[in-house]
Amino acid sequence: MAAQSTIEQREPTAPARTPAPAARRRGSAGGGLLRFVQSTWRPAAVLAAIFVAWWAVTAADLVKPYLVPAPGTTLDVVLAQTGYFAHHTWITTYETILGFAIAIVVGVLSAVVMVYSPTVEKSLYPLLLFAQVIPKIAIAPLFIVWLGFGLTPKVVVAVLMAFFPIVISTVTGLKSIDPEMLQLSATMGAGPGQTFRKIRFPAALPHLFSGLKVAATMAVTGAVVGEFVGANEGLGYVILQANGNLDTPTLFAGLLIMSLLGVVLFVVVELLEYFVLPWHASRRTDAATTSL
């Protein structure tokens, strides 16, 4: 429908699709809130339905409260000990963000080196793959032995988890540059640094961001795995403790906060992408209308 009307409006001789692109961009920015609501109400509804189902199951006494606590009970546990939960959430958040940040720096840098040096790529790839396939839960105890009970082993596990998707996506992004673009750059007398900054890196950003979104959720998992193996604080510790005491409300609270942490980090990355890549194909109004 929309496509049809634009064709009718177009003058037969006018070569361009949109006579006022500036106005269109402004318009799409103003409709941002509306589109946010349009795109979020469905998942929000599904989430609400799950909570209602959870509440209904517990309210109808279908399962024993010590197996599945009611949503209200879980919330009460959190409200009764806000300080306790805030502290442990903060610890896990800190480990996650630190691990994620280090993974971004190390991941992007190694991707760049690998793209520019085939020798490094060939030598590093097996190692990279090895680091990815080895179960983190299995090597986490080793990190505790090596690095102690503190923050470091958790951050290391988080880095290990988050690093791989970042490297792979950045390598793919940097390699998928149109070779003509690089030739063009050469005829402009651009050095490798200029070509990288102005052409290659920005072109790789859409790939990089999809890697970052995966990595953000992996970082949370990494931090919690680290805590499971040996810790005296953090959400992983909270869950282990609650499990040991058969304290399912605290266990559920810990799980929910942990999931929320992953979701928040994911949304932050997505928001960042929204502002960094306003030009990307996924953001075009045509694409938005077809997805509705």
């Binding site: 070569p15 149109d178 030739q183 402009m188 102005k198 920005p202 030009w279 194909a281």
Partner: protein
């Protein structure tokens, strides 16, 4: 940086030979996994400053390879390529290059895409701004400066690419099937505009094309190439007036003669298929 010069005002070009482009006994061989491929063999050409030369030939005959040689993006396996009397040994900056696809950066507006050329060359901003305005007016992009590539039609995108290629007033402009992806009508419009732009700038142009009409309408000389391994089959002088009205040119006997001759050559060399 002298922004005001054109080919006619470049005495430096007149070193040794005076030709804008010289290709001397050039051959290009590629080695693939299965076999060695000869893309070009025994190509010799001489293009004078300010000339408009079209190159036509069957697909895969090495037309684009020829442009890559002139720009220094590719080195010949044997023979020599000279630009303004200088041996080409690596990518040259004193050329403008237009590809079949506009090759625009999606995240930059039309104006910013044109300015990429200036940024890479570190040209002074004040001078460049005026030059960009000039080019935008010359190519009919006025009103679309702030549009992003995805908001522009194919023809408009190619205009942006042309502006980008002309920004630094290159003495030689290399065009690799620049209008190949456009519809027939837009293509004719672009032909007329390119002819006008060429006359306004005085740049030497090498145009690779699949369209015989386009080749003849635009050029002073048309180089017809043989299929792979490509070499020059014949060079056809186009004896048409400098002032070329599109419709009128099409009905000139000289236009019919030139296109007919090219068609014969290309037909004769492809009947083997």
């Amino acid at each position: 940086m002298t922004v005001g010069n054109t080919t006619t005002q470049r005495p430096a070009d007149a070193t040794a030979t005076g030709a804008a482009v010289e290709i001397d006994q050039v051959a290009v061989r590629f080695r693939t996994k299965k076999k060695d491929v000869t893309a070009l063999r025994d190509v010799s050409l001489r293009i004078e400053p300010g000339e408009f030369v079209s190159i036509v030939g069957a697909s895969g005959c090495g037309k684009s390879t020829l442009l890559k040689l002139v720009s220094g993006l590719l080195r010949p396996s044997s023979g020599q390529v000279r630009l303004h009397g200088e041996d080409v040994r690596g990518p040259r900056r004193d050329i403008g290059y237009v590809f079949q696809r506009a090759a625009l950066l999606e995240w930059r507006t039309a104006r910013k895409n044109i300015l990429l050329q200036a940024e890479m060359r570190r040209l002074p901003k004040a001078q460049v701004r005026q030059r960009v305005d000039e080019l935008i007016a010359m190519t009919g992009l006025t009103g679309f400066e702030d549009a992003y590539p995805n908001e522009l039609s194919g023809g408009m995108q190619q205009r942006v690419a042309l502006c980008r290629a002309l920004l630094h007033r290159p003495p030689v402009l290399l065009m690799d099937e620049p209008f190949g992806a456009l519809d027939a009508l837009t293509r004719e419009q672009m032909n007329v505009e390119l002819r006008r732009i060429w006359r306004e700038t005085g740049t030497t142009v090498l145009l690779v094309t699949h369209s015989i009409a386009e080749a003849v309408y635009l050029a002073n000389r048309v180089i017809v190439m043989t299929p792979r391994p490509g070499t020059v089959a014949e060079v056809i002088d186009v004896d048409l007036p400098v002032e070329r009205d599109y419709g009128q040119t099409m009905s000139e006997p000289e236009f019919a003669r030139a296109t007919g001759r090219i068609r014969d050559l290309l037909g004769a060399t492809t009947t083997a298929e």
